[in-house]
Every structure is written in structure tokens, then in C-alpha cells.
């Protein structure tokens, strides 16, 4: 497989990936999924491990298990509301443990922290298409997502299939994590979805502002983090999260009057 130049491939992919993360993150934050984002991303690790054992592209393994994780959370949430958090927490912690046993050495570090320098053309195209799917989903379904957020019952009376919408949302969320794994790895991808949206939430006074602010903060964090990482010659994931985290702490200086 040919390797495209890291700079070009990374810039194109990281930009659309960040927009997708910012948009899906906006609704994830409003739906109080802040704490769920990290555990969900951890389930990618055993997928990567299995793919390495089977000698297929790790991305496919990660995506397969992430989508499985999305369906699992969806099914658990529909059944019992009480134990959802515990079930999610335990399941995904076990996934991380299993994944780190079957993955080893450099591959484990790459999977945990991301390794965009080894991006292949096919992965780049897959990432861009996946990001566009997520962006399209959020923008097309934003009205249904808003009404669902306000009240599932109202959404039902407006002929929204709430169960299906929830499943698609979780799958779009899982897809976003899968796309970002190359950049941020299993440990940190959840934060690119959550942090920019949390910053945007502190300033936004409308849905449009929330979506634009969140997406642009994600792009800014990714670009700045990747640049600093390239200067330091280190994986970009931790730097991207450090930039986003710094912006978040700066945003705390802004006092919301609402």
C-alpha cells in the first residue's frame, strides 16, 4: 500500500475529522454523554488487537468493535436506565484490558496514542468519507436531534423514530472515534469530541453558534497540536488534547451569565 505524504494527508483528513468531532460532540455534550465518550473509545483497542492477529488493517477491527459497542450501549439504554453507566464503565474497561493483552509493543503505543505518520492512502480516503458521513448526518438530522434532546415524547408526536435516531447517533459517534484513532489513539480520541464542544457550550447562545464554535475549536486544536507535535517530533495525539485542554481552561475565565 502506498503511503501518502503525512503533511498533505494529515491536513485534509484532520480538518474534516475535527469538524465531524466538533459537530457530533455538540450533541454528545448536550445529551450528557461527556463521561461515556472515553470508555466507548476504549473498545477500539481489542478490535485493533484482533485485526493485528488476523493481519488485516487495524482500522477495520477498531471500527467493527466501535460499531458493536454503539449497538451495545443502545440496547442497554433501551432496556434498563438504572445500570447503564455501570454496564458501560465495566464493559469498556474490560475491553481496554483485553485489548492491551492481545496488542503489544509499538503497536500498542500507536493504538493508544495515535500514529498519523503511517497513514495510508486508503485510510485517508476512508477517514474523509467517514467524516463527511458524520457531518452530513448531524446537519441533516439536527432538527430531529434537537427535538429528541428536548423530549423523546415530543419527538414521537412529531413522527420521529426515536430509537432509530438514537442508534444512528451512537453509530455516528463511534464512527467519529474510529476515524480519529490514527490521530489521537484509543486513549485520547474521546477528548477531541468532548472538549471543543464543552468550550463552545460556554459561549454559544444558539444551536448554530454551538455547532460552528465547536467545529472550529476542534479544527484549531487539531491544527495547532499537530504543528507543535511535528516540531517536537512526537505523536500528535497528546499535543492536540493539550491544546484543546488549554483552550478549555482559558474558557473558564469567561463567566456565563446564563
Amino acid at each position: 500500500m502506498s503511503t501518502i505524504t503525512p503533511e498533505l494527508g494529515s491536513v485534509a483528513l484532520s480538518a474534516v475529522m475535527a469538524v465531524a468531532a466538533g459537530l457530533i460532540g455538540s450533541f454528545a455534550v448536550m445529551r450528557r454523554m461527556v463521561l461515556a465518550a472515553d470508555p466507548i473509545s476504549h473498545i477500539a483497542l481489542p478490535g485493533i488487537g484482533i485485526a493485528l492477529i488476523l493481519r488485516i488493517n487495524p482500522l477495520w477491527g477498531a471500527l467493527a468493535l466501535l460499531l458493536l459497542g454503539a449497538v451495545l450501549i443502545w440496547a442497554v439504554e433501551r432496556r434498563a436506565r438504572i445500570a447503564t453507566e455501570a454496564v458501560i464503565g465495566v464493559t469498556f474497561a474490560v475491553a481496554l484490558a483485553v485489548g492491551s493483552i492481545i496488542t503489544s509493543g509499538d503497536e500498542l503505543i500507536d493504538a493508544l496514542l495515535g500514529a498519523p505518520a503511517t497513514l495510508t492512502l486508503r485510510e485517508g480516503i476512508l477517514g474523509i468519507v467517514g467524516s463527511l458521513v458524520v457531518i452530513g448526518f448531524v446537519l441533516r438530522q439536527r432538527n430531529a436531534l434537537v427535538v429528541r434532546l428536548i423530549s423523546p415524547e415530543i419527538a414521537m408526536t412529531a413522527a420521529v423514530d426515536v430509537a432509530r435516531l438514537d442508534l444512528y447517533f451512537l453509530m455516528a459517534f463511534a464512527l467519529t472515534i474510529g476515524i480519529g484513532l490514527r490521530f489521537l489513539g484509543v486513549l485520547l480520541m474521546g477528548s477531541l469530541i468532548i472538549i471543543p464542544a464543552s468550550i463552545a457550550r460556554r459561549f454559544a447562545r444558539s444551536l448554530g453558534a454551538m455547532l460552528v464554535l465547536s467545529a472550529s475549536t476542534a479544527v484549531l486544536s487539531t491544527a495547532a497540536g499537530t504543528y507543535v507535535a511535528s516540531l517536537a517530533g512526537r505523536p500528535s495525539g497528546p499535543f492536540i488534547v493539550m491544546v484543546a485542554g488549554s483552550l478549555f481552561f482559558l474558557s473558564l475565565l469567561h463567566r456565563r451569565d446564563a
Partner: protein, 231 residues
């Protein structure tokens, strides 16, 4: 012609019968008040009526029914970055209603356009409740279901809200189903009352259904309520 026919409705939640053996017919363009003590299953009944809960028995809405629902408590944070316009726009897009319908809904609930620029966290309880009713009116429902619409609103606000709801009922010939704790509202506005109590249910026009004995049975204690005759 009935807007709604309910026969032997039962809802089980968590292994317990929350609603059991409820039957009634509601004529079109009438107002039904559902009363009962906390935990009697009023909200559950309402949610079953809109099809949000699995149930036993039969619920039959008239074929041309379009529902508008105003829930009691929203499970959302008030500091969401959503303003009134975001709310209405989202519902209007789903219901396929025009800008004119939005303005009409706002006028019907007596909410100024300027309020729409306010985030929901900065709205007063009364404004927010009116917004929710306007929200329900998009899509031109002919049945409005409201779960304690006046809860958490000051007395003058409550009176205005009741006027809004019953103005809608009159001007648009809407069927209204509302859960209320306020018996004076029930006597003043409701054509029918459905009481849910631990020992059974009653249904009928308020003046004949709500006898002191029945109220005692429903609430488990004497209420000492005086019926003011407005007619």
C-alpha cells in the same frame, strides 16, 4: 363523535400496575382533566395515550388526530446553548410548518417574537411553558395533551396560562387533555374529569363525578374544597 376512546387501559412499569382498568370516551373539542394524588399514574397515563409506553387494553384516537404534547418536566439542563428560535425552528422543520404558522403559534400563546432570542435558561417559567405550548401547536394538532402546564408558575402566570389553553380550545375547536392538581381549574374549565386513585377511578362531568366521597377516596383524605358556581 369521540376524539378518544379508551377501554380497560393498563400500564405496567417495573413489575407494578401503575395504571389499571381505565375506560372512558372523550367527545371532540372537549376538555378532560386528569386528577389524582402524586404517584397515581397521571403522567404514565398521558404517556401511554401518546404511544410512548407499551400498554394493555385499547386506545383509539379519531382517524384525523394530530397530537400536540406538552410534557411536565423536561429532562434537560437549563443552560443548554439553545434559544427559543432553535426550539421552534426544529419542530417546525419536522412538522413542515411555515413561518406564518410559527408566528401564529406565538400569538396564540401570547409570546413576543423577541423572547425567541433568549436562551431557554434565561426564560421565566411562564415564558418557557408558553414556548412549549407554541412548540406543541406547530404541526397544527387538533388534540393538545398537557402535563401540569401551570406547575412552578406564579399565580397570575397560572391564570394567564389557563386562559391561553382554553382560548385555544375554543378558537380552534381543540380537544384538550390536561393533568392538573388545581381543582378550581378543573371545575372552571374541564368538561370531564378522570380521577386516578389507589382504590379506583372515576369519570364524568366534574360536578357529578367529583363528589366529596369520591375526592376522599381518590386522595385518601377530606379536601374541604368548595365548589364556586361560575355559571
Amino acid at each position: 363523535m369521540n376524539a378518544l376512546e379508551v377501554e380497560d387501559l393498563g400500564v405496567r412499569l417495573g413489575g407494578a400496575d401503575v395504571v389499571r382498568g381505565v375506560s372512558f370516551n372523550l367527545p371532540k373539542a372537549s376538555c378532560l382533566a386528569i386528577i389524582g394524588p402524586n404517584g397515581a399514574g397521571k403522567t404514565v397515563l398521558l404517556r401511554a395515550l401518546i404511544g410512548a409506553l407499551p400498554h394493555a387494553g385499547r386506545i383509539t384516537w379519531a382517524p384525523d388526530t394530530a397530537l400536540g404534547y406538552v410534557p411536565q418536566k423536561l429532562d434537560i439542563e437549563r443552560d443548554l446553548p439553545l434559544n427559543g428560535r432553535d426550539f421552534l425552528r426544529a419542530k417546525a422543520a419536522l412538522a413542515g410548518s411555515s413561518g406564518a404558522t410559527q408566528s401564529e403559534a406565538l400569538r396564540a400563546v401570547g409570546l413576543a417574537e423577541e423572547v425567541l432570542a433568549t436562551t431557554i435558561g434565561n426564560m421565566s417559567g411562564g415564558q418557557f411553558q408558553r414556548l412549549l405550548i407554541a412548540f406543541a401547536l406547530l404541526g397544527r394538532p387538533n388534540v393538545l395533551l398537557l402535563d401540569e402546564p401551570a406547575a412552578g408558575i406564579d399565580a397570575p402566570g397560572q391564570a394567564q396560562l389557563n386562559e391561553v389553553i382554553h382560548g385555544l380550545q375554543d378558537s380552534r375547536a381543540m380537544t384538550v387533555v390536561l393533568v392538573s392538581h388545581d381543582l378550581s381549574v378543573v371545575y372552571q374549565y374541564a368538561d370531564y374529569v378522570l380521577c386516578l386513585g389507589p382504590h379506583g377511578t372515576c369519570f364524568g362531568p366534574p360536578r357529578s363525578a367529583l363528589t366529596p366521597e369520591m375526592l376522599y377516596e381518590v386522595y385518601g383524605q377530606p379536601l374541604g374544597f368548595h365548589v364556586h358556581d361560575h355559571s
